[in-house]
């Protein structure tokens, strides 16, 4: 049986004070979909548990002219049901609906998805493809950190243990940008992703790729943009030959990170092929 002190403040300053005082042995709980199994399994033994689900400032979805701010305790269902998100970032709506089942989507939060930093996280690669920033708050103040610098290694965020992820910020995409999320799993619901593809694409009227951002999920310890592939295609018209070349390069880039493993014979060609299929669909869609 776990033994910890539990605290559920309604104000952010109270939460940050508590976190600063107990940083060493405090765990933050939001939706609990990762944390509660870890507690049950005795993988972790915190002395303090800080519930942030009652803090209004850590929730909500809002926009300015340039950016959208998504509070860290926004659940996957909140995300899926948001008209603003569907309009600005349909890739996030698609991703949110693919996570777990209705019950886990009603509890799991985007802040938790990022802070847990699981290799098979669904939200993390999509937010990376959107060049998101995380808003971190602590007693020391507030700062924004690019998401691609926010994960130290699998399961480990790179921010301080007195800092709380309070929101995700994303710049709105230029008009004409297309996005796609694809998830490969053993079944449709309640499935851990085998692989995901997150793509952001913008082409000029002549069909030349102006911008491409690509993040494969579930295939590397920490997901990241595959800049080598983005460079290979940017500034060019995506011919069949070029797409074939890019698909092969995707598998090779993955192997550079992961090395050869038991699953490589499967993942290397399949990841490349999925990339090619999803990108081709985005191209023919417009």
């Amino acid at each position: 049986m776990q033994s910890y002190e539990y605290y559920a403040p309604r104000s952010l300053p109270d939460a940050l004070e508590y976190l600063a005082e107990n940083a060493k042995n405090c765990r933050i709980i939001a939706g609990g979909t990762d944390l509660i199994p870890a507690l049950r399994n005795e993988d972790i033994h915190p002395a303090f548990l800080l519930n942030i689900m009652e803090i209004a400032e850590v929730g909500g979805i809002s926009e300015t002219e340039q950016t959208v701010r998504i509070g860290a305790i926004t659940t996957f269902n909140d995300l899926a049901e948001s008209g603003l998100i569907r309009k600005e970032f349909p890739i996030l709506s698609e991703m949110a609906l693919s996570v777990g089942g209705p019950q886990t989507r009603n509890r799991g939060t985007i802040g938790g998805n990022i802070a847990s930093a699981a290799p098979a996280a669904d939200g993390l690669p999509v937010f990376l493809s959107l060049d998101a920033e995380v808003e971190l708050s602590s007693r020391r103040g507030k700062r924004n950190l690019p998401l691609n610098e926010a994960i130290a290694k699998a399961w480990t965020p790179a921010w301080g243990n007195d800092e709380l992820i309070t929101a995700i910020r994303i710049k709105k995409l230029p008009s004409g940008t297309r996005t796609a999320f694809y998830k490969l799993a053993r079944r449709q619901a309640m499935a851990r992703s085998r692989m995901t593809i997150s793509l952001i694409l913008r082409r000029d009227p002549a069909g030349i790729i102006e911008e491409l951002r690509f993040v494969p999920g579930s295939v590397m310890p920490v997901p990241r943009r595959m800049e080598e592939i983005e460079k290979l295609l940017t500034g060019k018209v995506p011919t069949d030959e070029l797409l074939d070349q890019a698909a092969r390069a995707v598998g090779e880039e993955m192997v550079k990170v992961t090395g050869i493993r038991w699953s490589t014979g499967y993942k290397k060609p399949v990841l490349g092929n999925l990339f090619r299929i999803v990108l081709s669909q985005l191209i023919t869609a417009g």
Binding site: M1, P37, R107
Partner: protein, 159 residues
């Protein structure tokens, strides 16, 4: 085991009734519902959020009660299968599950009913696909899904 002095008073509303119960901060909502409140309709299957047998409504939304700390329900409304209807006056979904043979071993049934009720409260006339999505977090190892979907469809058509 936790000593009594480690307990905190939890106040919430369960099936419309206010309740106050002394809980250990390590307990899940599921444990409190079953073992402290004696509402054993809600089942524990996997205990890690995969099977949906422990599904309840928290503030009107389906959640796996094994993945909610009891204290996270402070001040909130919880509805369990016992709150769907009474023995004399069952929820139409319960009637339909009985009539159309949607119950085999029965272990998934309370969770299925709660997920179906949440769907119909929000969307009284769902498509078959919407029904499948709504119960996609509830596993039935008797694999009686076809009858369960039929039973929900009948209520959706009548309702």
């Amino acid at each position: 085991m936790a000593k009594d002095q480690d307990k905190t008073i939890l106040k919430m509303t369960v099936n419309g009734e206010p309740v106050e119960v002394a809980v250990n901060p390590a307990w899940t909502l599921l444990r409190v519902i079953r073992e402290e409140l004696g509402l054993t309709g809600t089942k524990e299957g996997c205990g890690i959020g995969d099977c949906g047998a422990c599904t309840v409504l928290l503030e009107g939304k389906t959640v796996n009660s094994c993945l909610v700390l009891a204290l996270q329900a402070e001040g909130k409304e919880v509805r369990t299968v016992e709150g769907l209807g009474t023995e004399e006056n069952l929820d139409p979904l319960q009637e339909s599950f009985i009539e159309y043979g949607a119950v085999q071993c029965g272990f998934c049934t309370p969770g299925m009913l709660i997920s179906a009720r949440a769907l119909l409260d929000k969307n009284p006339h769902p498509t078959t696909e919407e029904i499948k999505v709504a119960i996609s977090g509830n596993l039935c190892r008797c694999t009686g899904y076809v009858k369960i979907i039929q039973a929900i469809e009948i209520v959706a058509q009548e309702g």
